[in-house]
Subunit: 145 residues, 6 copies
């Protein structure tokens, strides 16, 4: 979705990313990087007593890995405006494998560039949706970079 | 904000976090973790030719660091529902120092727990807002964890 | 303990930190960072033949994680003088969850600031003491930072 | 091998390094660092359907860890010229422990320094050869650094 | 090159990757991961007295980053056989930006799959070749994964 | 010091390690790993207003790097008892290069193994002592591992 210049983006098209297994190491690394060591993610004993029964990945970890799974072509993406309706709908456990499905909802011509609106769903190997969001991204037109 | 049980959260209260300087190492580490090596973040030569004139931090990096800057008390946070109106309004450059300001907008009693709505602004040392969002978080009541 | 200005520190008070599970990833990351790849920590076959029967965490890993578990308030801590009687009394295995208990032993007024002496015990989920030490920390008085 | 000045290197001598267990965390960290997230290394579901039946370590991971296992003495190594006949002959699975065996094949005097040719074999705990290569390294003579 | 099934690979075709700036953080992270802390890479004072006059990136770092810069398509790559004539021809300094140029030299049909031989050059922003090698990779035919 | 069996350790002998430059990346990585983001180490603006005038490395970072600089021989070290009189006497700034000097103070025969007492000094490139400590380590006798 983010690997095509504005002219080639088709509303309604869907792309599915490769998968990535979320490991215990990922949760430790993200806790470390972000500084968010909330015990639901990092304390086995604490997590066993929550409604999840075990440690779960941070929502932001899932979302951050999601951005890396989506193929982006150098020169295409101008800027990332933001997100709407970001919802975490299912937990991601250690050992789950996630992938990203993106669908183009809308494209708007802004003369020197374009803005595309994309629906993103992050799903696990059980086909459960873990995270869903609407993204707005400014993309270049051909020959403008 | 996320260090108080539901009963003690006050609508209108504001909290300011400590600061964290975003270094070149942070950008490399986040690119590595997320898998998002888009050259605007990781290629000095490419970035010099963009409207920013230099490498900038990933939006998700800023947001992820933001979650770690906010103090969370074990036992208080039940689950993180999601975000609305997430907007990236100013770039974060290497060497900028960011902090998080959170304001409680609303609290809703759900019997066995509560839901608080929070406005979050991530600001840099020049007091520019880099990122703004509305968060919904489920928090415990006293004595329920 | 390290989140209060000198005037508010009470001799005899005790604080217990949140917990953190020490994972295989933590041992790899600490070996990598420190450069200490001693095979007792990093070679499964070698460790199986030692008195511990398996890989154990580095003493310095446990101590370093301990410093991060203790809450420190910006503006409070001036400098960390050192440690005495640091002893490693039980091994930390992969999957153990550690917490820090700190007790204020003494406080000394040095006019423009204060020095507090603290006893620190790092315990695991079986309530065994893994590491114990006496720390001396210079802390600010109110209004001096 | 790389811890002796040119004069002391003996053709035919063999050195065996300590071992290092390759963990799931190592594979995640190397994927992150290198940017090579090929699903054979990082997607449990995908890897289960390949001829290996599970995730395997990257060839470059094994080779990179190999360079760190070999003892190098500061002042001895001048430059690393390159490699020939690098072959990956057996996969490295999560939990395997690898070591490096190096044999000096040849030494050439270049007046102000020397060049040694080394055969390197990386073996696992089952004594299978995972990787083999011929290296050429420029080493200092005594008193020249 | 490694994003096409065997049938679509064309001998003589050339691909150029995106770039990645090699930072001081990359050198620290690779030293940490590999365990290779040779002072030419990690000791500013030592490196100042070598023929390079400053710290340089590890050869294996450059090569590892190179593998991540090359686009690989899930399902296409079967196995990585090895390398020949790997040569490090110019140093990579902190702040250099490298890219990979790959040229298909040969393709061989092995019935159920194919083997392609590729020449790889890693170049910096001054168009100097830092590293060159010949790679052999087993790739799938269409419909066989 | 920690690369010799008990019989070969000589009281009074001194060893000097290789050096390692402490980079901004090291401070970020140690903050991340330990969870200690105290702003003296991680917030440029805050650190500028302290007596140090800039960010300094964590004491535990310096000590942890120190353990990795000391050469340890597999089979020699049995266990690390602890430390006494650990003092941080000078700050370590970004860009400083540290080395470890160890002196054997005492050796005690415990029949099946031995205990050595070592004085450790971590010095920077200006020959200032940053950290000093007394360590006790249990080491094997020849032929007992």
């Amino acid at each position: 979705m983010l690997d095509k210049y504005f002219e080639d983006v088709e509303v309604g098209s869907i792309a599915v990313s490769r998968g990535r297994t979320i490991t215990e190491a990922d949760i430790v690394m993200f806790s470390a990087f972000s500084g968010d060591w909330y015990p639901l993610h990092t304390d086995k004993e604490y997590a066993a007593n929550t409604m999840f029964g075990q440690r779960i990945a941070h929502g932001m970890l899932v979302l951050s890995v999601g951005t890396g799974l989506v193929t982006m072509e150098p020169g295409v993406v101008l800027a990332f405006y933001g997100m709407d309706k970001l919802r975490f709908t299912n937990p991601t456990f250690i050992g789950d494998t996630i992938r990203v499905e993106t669908e183009v909802l809308e494209k708007k011509d802004k003369d020197s560039f374009g803005v595309i609106t994309v629906k993103q769903e992050i799903k696990n190997q059980r086909d459960q949706v873990c995270c869903t969001a609407i993204l707005k991204v400014a993309v270049n037109k051909k020959g403008t970079f």
